[in-house]
C-alpha cells in the first residue's frame, strides 16, 4: 500500500510561500542579469563582423552617391569637390537584435566625409560629419539631421531612443578614420 506523505496544512502554506519566494527571487536574478547584460552591450548591437559589414555598406552608399543623390539627402558636394571618401562608424540598427546584414533595415552611424578636390590634407578636406540614418532595404536612402532648428533635437528625431547617447557623442572609431585617411591620400594623389 502506497502511503502519501501529506504535510500539515500550515506546512503546505509555508512551503508554497517558500516556493513562491524562491521563484520570485529566481526571476529577479534573471531580470537583473539581463539588465546588466543589456547595459554592458549598450554600445554594441551585434557581432563585430556585422558592424564591419554595415560600415562597408554605408561607406559604399555615401561614396558612390551621385551629386544629385547627395543633394537630396542634404550633402552639398559640388563638381569641384572631386571624389568623396568617408569614414563610417555604426552605432545601432533596426530592427534591434538583427545579427545579419540581410536582417538590417536601418543603420545608424557616424560619418565623416572628405573631398579630394580640395587638394588639402584629410583633416582640412572634411566637409560633412555627424550621425546619419541609412535605410538599406530597397534603394539605399540616407537621412541627415534636419537643419534650421535645435540640432540635438533633430538628431534625437532621427534615431531610436536607445541610440540617442551614441548619436550625440563624437566619432569614436579612430581606426575607421585612419583607414579612410589612407584611402583618401591614395586617391588624392
Amino acid at each position: 500500500m502506497r502511503r502519501t506523505l501529506r504535510l500539515p496544512y500550515a506546512w503546505q502554506v509555508r512551503t508554497r510561500a517558500a516556493v513562491l519566494v524562491a521563484a520570485s527571487a529566481a526571476v529577479l536574478v534573471a531580470v537583473a542579469v539581463t539588465v546588466v547584460a543589456l547595459a554592458a552591450n549598450a554600445d554594441e548591437f551585434g557581432p563585430p563582423e556585422l558592424k564591419r559589414a554595415l560600415a562597408l555598406r554605408v561607406t559604399q552608399v555615401l561614396e558612390q552617391a551621385t551629386l544629385q543623390e547627395h543633394r537630396e539627402h542634404g550633402h552639398h558636394f559640388g563638381e569641384h569637390d572631386g571624389q568623396v571618401v568617408c569614414a563610417v562608424a555604426p552605432f545601432g540598427v533596426h530592427p534591434e537584435g538583427a545579427v545579419k546584414v540581410a536582417e538590417v533595415r536601418w543603420v545608424y552611424a557616424h560619418h565623416m566625409c572628405a573631398v579630394t578636390g580640395a587638394r588639402q590634407s584629410w583633416a582640412t578636406s572634411v566637409r560633412a560629419a555627424g550621425p546619419i540614418a541609412v535605410r538599406l532595404a530597397g534603394r539605399p536612402t540616407v537621412r541627415v539631421p534636419a537643419s534650421g532648428g535645435d540640432y540635438a533635437e533633430q538628431v534625437r528625431a532621427l534615431v531610436p531612443e536607445r541610440c540617442h547617447e551614441a548619436a550625440l557623442a563624437g566619432f569614436a572609431d579612430d581606426e575607421a578614420i585612419e583607414e579612410a585617411r589612407r584611402r583618401f591620400d591614395g586617391r588624392r594623389g
Binding site: 543633394r71 552639398h76 580640395a118 566619432f171 585617411r181
Partner: protein, 355 residues
C-alpha cells in the same frame, strides 16, 4: 518643412543653372580669411588632426552644439544663391553674419551676440591686406563694411550699425582656386576707432546671383593682426603664443628684422609668422629685403601679406610691398605669412638689407 523648402530651392537652382550657358555649379566658396570671419576662425579653432571638430572657443562650441559640425566644415559657404547684391530688406537684422537663413547650410548660430568669438587685433588708421578665400574664382565685387562708432556690440547686428569702408572689384588672387588661396587687397582702416567692432564683407558675384557673407570680429587695440580665441590655451591677452624669437642684430644693410612665429594648433601642419623690419639707418629707405634659410622643409601656404616673396624656400627672400618700402629712420614695417611645417626652433637667422 524647412528641409522641403531647401530641397525645392536647390532643385530650382540646379534647374536654372542647367539652362544657363557656361553656368557654374551652385557650389562656390568664399569667406574672409583675414581679418578672419567667424566661421573660418571657428573652423581653425576646432579642427583636430584626425578631421574631427572639437571646439576650444566657447562661442564656436555653442554654435557647433546648435547646428552640428557640417556647417563649420563648410566655413567658406556662408552664401545665398539668390543674394543678388541685396542687403536691407533681404537679410534680416540680426542675421547678417549668416546671410539670413536661406543658404545650403545653417549658419544662424553664428549670429549669436557674444563677446567671446575669435578676435583679430588691429590698429586704427593702419593699412592691412584683406584676404578672402577663392576656392571657386568668380568675377565680382567685395563690399567691406565696418560697424559705426557707438554701435552696440551687446545687441544683434543691424544694417544701420554698418557703414561702407570700401568696394573692390576683381582683386588679384594669391594662387589658383582650390586649396587655401585667396583674393587680396589693401584696406586702410579708419582712424578714430577703438574697442570692439565687426568688419563685414559682402562678396557680390557679377556672373550669378550668388553672394557670400563674412562677419569678422575685430578689436582696435594697436594690434598687428594677431588672432586670439582660437585653439587651446586661450587667454584674454592679445599676445599670442610666441616661440623663440631672434634678437635683432644691426646689419650693414641698414635695417633689422625680427622673427615671431605663432603656432596654429587649429590648423594642423601649419604655423603663422610675422617679421618686423626696422630702418636702423639715418636716411629713409626706398625698399628693403629680408632673407633666411629654412632647414626643416618649411614652406609657404599662400602668399605673404605686406611683403612679396622673391625667393622660394629653402632660401627665402621677402621684399617690401609697393606701399611699405619707404621707411623713415627708426620706422618699422611688418609682413606676415602662413607656413607649412613646424615652427623653426631656434628661429632662423634673418638678414635685412635696404635699398
Amino acid at each position: 518643412m524647412r528641409k522641403l523648402r531647401h530641397l525645392a530651392a536647390l532643385a530650382c537652382t540646379v534647374l536654372l543653372a542647367s539652362f544657363l550657358v557656361g553656368s557654374s555649379p551652385a557650389q562656390a566658396h568664399g569667406v574672409t580669411m583675414f581679418p578672419g570671419s567667424r566661421t573660418f576662425l571657428c573652423w581653425q579653432d576646432g579642427l583636430r588632426e584626425n578631421g574631427s571638430i572639437q571646439s576650444y572657443n566657447p562661442a564656436c562650441g555653442a554654435a557647433v552644439a546648435q547646428s552640428g559640425t557640417t556647417p563649420l566644415y563648410n566655413w567658406f559657404a556662408v552664401l545665398r544663391s539668390d543674394g543678388g547684391g541685396r542687403t536691407t530688406g533681404f537679410i534680416p537684422d540680426g542675421q547678417i553674419c549668416s546671410g539670413g537663413s536661406g543658404g545650403p547650410y545653417d549658419f544662424t548660430a553664428y549670429n549669436a551676440v557674444r563677446d567671446d568669438w575669435p578676435l583679430t587685433h588691429l590698429s586704427a588708421g593702419s593699412t592691412i591686406q584683406v584676404r578672402h578665400s577663392n576656392w571657386a574664382a568668380h568675377p565680382g565685387s567685395f563690399v567691406v563694411y565696418i560697424t559705426k562708432n557707438g554701435w552696440n556690440p551687446a545687441a544683434p547686428l543691424k544694417w544701420s550699425d554698418l557703414e561702407v569702408l570700401t568696394s573692390v572689384a576683381n582683386p588679384p588672387q594669391s594662387g589658383g582656386p582650390g586649396g587655401l588661396n585667396y583674393y587680396y587687397w589693401d584696406l586702410q582702416l579708419p582712424s578714430g576707432k577703438s574697442g570692439r567692432h565687426i568688419v563685414f564683407t559682402h562678396w557680390i558675384r557679377a556672373d550669378s546671383q550668388e553672394n557670400f557673407y563674412s562677419c569678422s570680429d575685430v578689436v582696435f587695440d594697436g594690434g598687428n593682426g594677431e588672432v586670439t580665441g582660437v585653439g587651446p590655451g586661450q587667454s584674454p591677452s592679445p599676445t599670442p603664443t610666441v616661440t623663440p624669437t631672434s634678437t635683432p642684430t644691426p646689419t650693414p644693410g641698414g635695417c633689422t628684422a625680427t622673427w615671431r612665429a605663432v603656432d596654429n594648433p587649429g590648423w594642423p601642419g601649419h604655423f603663422q609668422a610675422e617679421v618686423t623690419v626696422k630702418n636702423t639707418g639715418s636716411t629713409a629707405t626706398n625698399g628693403w629685403r629680408v632673407q633666411w634659410a629654412y632647414t626643416g622643409g618649411q614652406g609657404f601656404e599662400g602668399a605673404p601679406w605686406n611683403g612679396v616673396l622673391t625667393s622660394q624656400p629653402p632660401d627665402v627672400s621677402v621684399s617690401n610691398a609697393s606701399y611699405n618700402g619707404r621707411l623713415a629712420p627708426n620706422a618699422t614695417a611688418a609682413f606676415g605669412f602662413n607656413a607649412t611645417g613646424s615652427v623653426p626652433s631656434p628661429a632662423p637667422a634673418l638678414t635685412c638689407t635696404t635699398s
